[in-house]
Point group: C2
Chain length 155, copies 2
DNA sequence: AAACAATCGTTGACTTTTTCAATGATCCGT
DNA sequence: ACGGATCATTGAAAAAGTCAACGATTGTTT
């Protein structure tokens, strides 16, 4: 984890053909973004992943842990750890699944929603900073392309 | 690591606001791409990272290990391991730095270049598959935006 | 309704990856 | 020539990821 937000200048090696590999570009931007995001969230005792869980708990979608694991590309056991932490801090709760009593639905507490509002603001600022090199239109377009590549979402 | 290339359909949770977070989108697409790329490279005994090192060794740019670490967002000690492996297999060699004798320049062998050509073809196919949901123009645009976000590269 | 296989969350073990400090060799500025 | 910095390397410690097994519950088959 060496790089910060936007690099000072184009590195010499970017000239190589690999400088256009999607895999590498994603890895680098993701790595750079992670340190930025985690730094922004550290004030709230959160990290990227626990923030993701908290956000989804606040979404009203009532996700199960299995859904969280699938959506966040995590092993179910990792979700257990994340929820354990958030629950211990009183930010989310495990509720019994409605149709399926094996499943646990993760919902936010009032305290969790307060925390989420503040953390969201910090994260948005970090994201803005990371994409400072792009125009607003380009940022929008980048997100659209990422969503489409992932889910084929038309809009 | 749960997801495959392009997901079958938009997951229910993508409707949440987090479905537009750049951090999450990058994480998911990167995770999905990694399994795809590593699968494609497995036939050659390579992984994403060793392939990156091999590519740069083949680029003619004569990168030092320090440059590789910076460019690939890796710890220098991780580069040692990667180069050790490639060198043991006769694909790259450590050459003495020209101005700086502390530095080691990583260059490819003839065998390494042969391997790289074949692996490159497999990786390009994997990338094509991952971005199958995008038009050619959109793929180009995605790469451009990623490069610009990272390096502010005009072109 | 009884038996069966499958799924959910959880635990614990195991492997891989990451992180970091220390080292010898070499470089650079004074 | 001295002192501080940088390079590759090693090894140890911490963190993250992977995986199989379990009880509880569900859906399916007989």
């Amino acid at each position: 984890m060496a790089t910060l937000g936007t690099e000072v200048q184009t590195p010499r090696l970017a000239a190589a053909r690999i400088g256009s590999d999607v895999g590498l570009l994603l890895a680098k931007l993701h790595a750079a973004g992670s340190v930025l995001n985690n730094k922004a969230l550290a004030d709230f005792g959160l990290r990227e992943r626990s923030f993701s869980v908290l956000t989804l708990a606040c979404s009203g979608l009532e996700p199960t842990q299995r859904e969280l694991a699938d959506f966040l590309s995590l092993d179910p056991s990792q979700v257990v750890t994340l929820v354990d932490d958030l629950e211990r801090r009183g930010l989310v709760e495990r509720a019994q699944g409605k149709q399926d009593r094996r499943a646990k639905i993760i919902v936010s507490t009032a305290e969790g929603r307060r925390m989420h509002t503040k953390a969201r603001a910090a994260l948005d600022a970090a994201e803005l900073h990371q994409l400072a090199g792009l125009t607003d239109g380009e940022s929008q377009e980048l997100k659209r392309l990422l969503r489409k590549a992932l889910w084929g979402t038309a809009e």
